[in-house]
């Protein structure tokens, strides 16, 4: 009887699991996983595990612009094609992870010793995918004092920056160019396509703090005039336009009210 019940349960459960698998539905990442990027262009060929890059830790310390414009990391995982030699020459990860450490912050050196087939402890700091590596900075203790967010990392990064709980650096000596502070551009509203859905109030001020100009224009948003770039939520969920950041690292698209804020008149 018991065996029959188990068989019945399996018969019911297996097709639904198969359906979920077939539909390609992704598991929602846990707060500490959100934004994590696996870098594996050359790691496996070099006998190393892929690099696990934690966006949450880096975004708390540096602006998006610093890494994606000044240091030159691409916006799509794997598109930068980082090589150990690049890091050793002081580019990409090596722009900060070098000796002497940048800005006096104590950071470990990236790809300091070429070790193609030996998983040395130093390599495991980054090449940690599938390895049981204890992080130096724990997500839970690092984010404990930060304002809560509903989705993503469970942190309201924008509020954390506004309240000066984090101060992301936007300049890296020897890498960045000294520039004038950015001239504030006007905020604007975008009409929601769905009836009854609140309109979007796009804040240039909030975005330029993190991104500057050239991170978004023209690569992500090709039109400078309001209404030039036509986009839909389907495209955004597909990682285009706002989705370039908000489907990957910035607060996720599930948090509708963060953008759709203006009541329809």
């Amino acid at each position: 009887m018991k065996r029959l019940a188990i068989l019945l349960l399996l018969a019911l459960a297996l097709p639904s699991a198969a359906r979920a698998e077939a539909s390609g539905k992704k598991r929602r990442p846990l707060p500490y996983e959100y934004g994590t990027v696996l870098i594996k262009n050359h790691s496996e060929a070099a006998g190393l595990a892929p690099v696990v890059f934690e966006h949450w830790l880096h975004r708390a310390k540096y602006t998006c612009r610093l890494c994606h414009v000044d240091i030159g990391f691409a916006m799509k995982a794997g598109a930068t094609d980082i090589k150990a030699a690049d890091n050793m020459r002081g580019f990409y990860c090596g722009a900060c992870h070098r000796k002497p450490p940048t800005g006096g912050r104590a950071v470990f050196e990236a790809c300091a010793q070429p070790s193609p087939h030996e998983q040395r402890p130093a390599c495991l700091r980054c090449h940690s995918s599938g390895k049981n590596v204890k992080p130096e900075i724990e997500f839970s203790s690092f984010t404990r004092a930060l304002p809560r967010g509903r989705f993503g990392n469970g942190v309201d990064w924008e509020k954390a920056e506004l309240e000066h709980l984090i101060s992301p650096a936007d300049y890296l000596e020897g890498v960045s160019i000294r520039r004038k502070p950015i001239a504030a551009q006007k905020d604007f509203s975008l009409e929601a396509k769905l009836v009854g859905m609140p309109n979007i109030l796009f804040s240039h001020a909030k975005h330029t703090v993190w991104n500057g100009c050239e991170l978004c224009h023209p690569e992500i948003f090709v039109g400078v005039k309001k209404g030039t770039t036509k986009y839909s939520m389907v495209e955004i969920f597909d990682g285009k336009y706002c989705g370039a950041c908000h489907a990957a690292v910035a607060f996720p698209l599930l948090d509708c009210q963060r953008c759709h804020t203006t009541p329809v008149q």
């Binding site: 691409a74 690049d86 300091a112 160019i177 004038k180 001239a183 100009c213 050239e214 224009h217």
Partner: protein, 109 residues
Amino acid sequence: MQTASRSLRALALCAVGLLGAGRSGNGHVSWLAVASADQDWRKEFDEVCAKTQDAMALGVDELKSLVARCDQLRPQLEKLDASSRKVFTKRLQACRDLYQFVLESREKP
């Protein structure tokens, strides 16, 4: 006079020695070697890309001049080592594209 000339020669030799020892054993390139080789293109790169923050406030002529300077600089970047070339051509392209983008928005109201 002879002493002064000897001192000058010694100084010149020291400078040559320091520049020659630019590459250290661990693959890192010393700042001195980088500084001497980088001076021209890096100075131009920094100047050209320093105006991205206020691109919207620049006039059409200035934007056109910046785009032209970006185009002139690119062949120099192509001659750099693989890592520098990859990073700086991408950075240059980003600032060129921004200036071009603002320029087009002015010319096509």
